[in-house]
Amino acid sequence: MATTEIGIAFRRAMARDLLAHRDEFDVFEVIADHSLFNHAEARALADLEAQVPLVPHGLDLSIGSVDCLEDGRYLEAVAELCRRRGGAFYGDHFAMTKLQGRSIGHLSPLWYTRAQLKVVVRNIAAVQARIGRPLALENITRPFDLGPSDLTEAEFINRAVRETGCGVILDLANLFINAHNLRFDPRRFLDELDLSAVWQIHLAGGRKVGPQWIDSHSSAVAAPVWELLEEVAPACTNLQLVILERDNEYPPVEELIADVRHARELARG
């Protein structure tokens, strides 16, 4: 297994602290969408990249939308970003975020049917050709299952990987949250998933509201998520990156550094 790099989501609110401890992080994950149409932000990222390697993570590819490929302007912006920045792949999500020019404002789940898979495969192939690098797509949290499906989520992802050569961003926090909220065994999902296709792992903390976990990225990584990382990392033979994501309610930076170090220990074994 190649040496896995460990990074953290770079967020403006934590910028000073993260940069002060930049040696602790191999990479910074940045939200691609913030700079796609924002030249000032793009310039800021170029400055940042001079200090720490960046991993762009997209939000709005909407790979599941039937009209994903019609948003030429967005795709061209992603392609331009890929031309400007390094990286072996471009990350986004197995999700739908927009349709017919309207934004949902959130990552919305796909219905795991053969018809949906066909659309996803078509979209992934076309986007990869357009941006000149493979995609790595992330499993998202879903508030509910849409209904009886042709495929399980893991089968759906495996088929998409097999047919397009894309990779997987395995968000263990999302898996843990889905497993809790939708009452399934996360290990069953992991057993089914082709772990050799996992190129990146995400870690984050959620928030419990009543009986449900929310994917809030606002707390420390939960113990069961660390356990999943410890179990799964050795089997992810092509794992390149592990990213710790924290988007609000920021703790002292020392806590984040401790988590990054812990992730490094677990991911590198």
Binding site: R11, R12, A13, I31, D33, H34, F37, N38, E41, L59, D60, G64, S65, V66, D67, M96, L99, Q100, G101, R102, S103, I104, G105, H106, S108, W111, T113, A115, Q116, V119, P143, F144, L146, G147, P148, I214, D247, N248
Partner: protein, 207 residues
């Protein structure tokens, strides 16, 4: 292929769960798709819709707490998409709204002093007008009152017509600018009158 219709209904349902039943009546769907959409758990759908709203609101609330408080009081039924940059703005003719940023992270919420552009149909403008009165006097909140054919800023009503093409700047705004130089960020607004009204609002800091 009916997947497009399926997704279309689903997206509408996410945004407004109360529309699901009428949408299902009109949509051309396969039996399986109809069953899935018809069988969606209403409570889960409403929760998701609420979480969409909450997530979007949080971003703008973090950036503009006083403005949001004002909007909550004065514009509860109004909903408008707001993006940080002209280039990102799309038309949202389907939904009337106010200041509802696509807050997928704090960076995407409009920054203080950036220009956000909102587009309305005139029908929507009239709808806005029905719910809008004068702005409160000079508290620096920096939001706008819109009326079809009239604009009210800090208590001063400014009439305009389609003859007012191009950028509009009133004496009030000029005074505002002068005051802003003295006191820090305040409200500012540019108004353009076009076949589809385009309102450009400089989003204010809450400092």
């Amino acid at each position: 292929m009916t997947l497009q219709a399926f997704q279309s209904v689903l997206v509408e349902a996410y945004r407004d769960p109360t529309r699901l039943a009428p949408l299902l009546r009109r949509a051309r769907l396969s039996k399986a798709e109809r069953q899935v959409l018809g069988g969606l758990d209403r409570r889960s759908l409403e929760d998701f819709s609420s979480s969409l709203y909450a997530k979007e609101s949080q971003g703008i609330q973090r950036a503009f707490p006083r403005t949001v408080a004002f909007l909550g009081e004065r514009f509860p039924a109004v909903y408008m998409r707001c993006r940080a940059r002209y280039e990102e703005v799309r038309r949202w003719p389907d939904r009337l709204g106010l200041f509802h940023a696509t807050a997928r992270g704090e960076l995407q919420a409009p920054e203080a002093h950036e220009i956000a552009r909102f587009e309305f149909t005139h029908a929507l403008l009239r709808e806005v007008a029905a719910g809008v009165a004068d702005l409160p006097e000079g508290d620096g909140l920096g939001l706008i009152a819109l009326q079809a054919g009239e604009l009210t800023i800090r208590g001063e009503r400014i009439a305009f017509s389609s003859a007012h093409a191009g950028r509009y700047a009133s004496p009030v705004l000029r005074r505002d600018r002068a005051r802003r130089r003295r006191t820090g960020p305040q409200s500012i607004l540019f108004f353009q009158r076009r076949p589809r009204a385009v309102v450009e609002v400089k989003v204010l800091g809450d400092d």
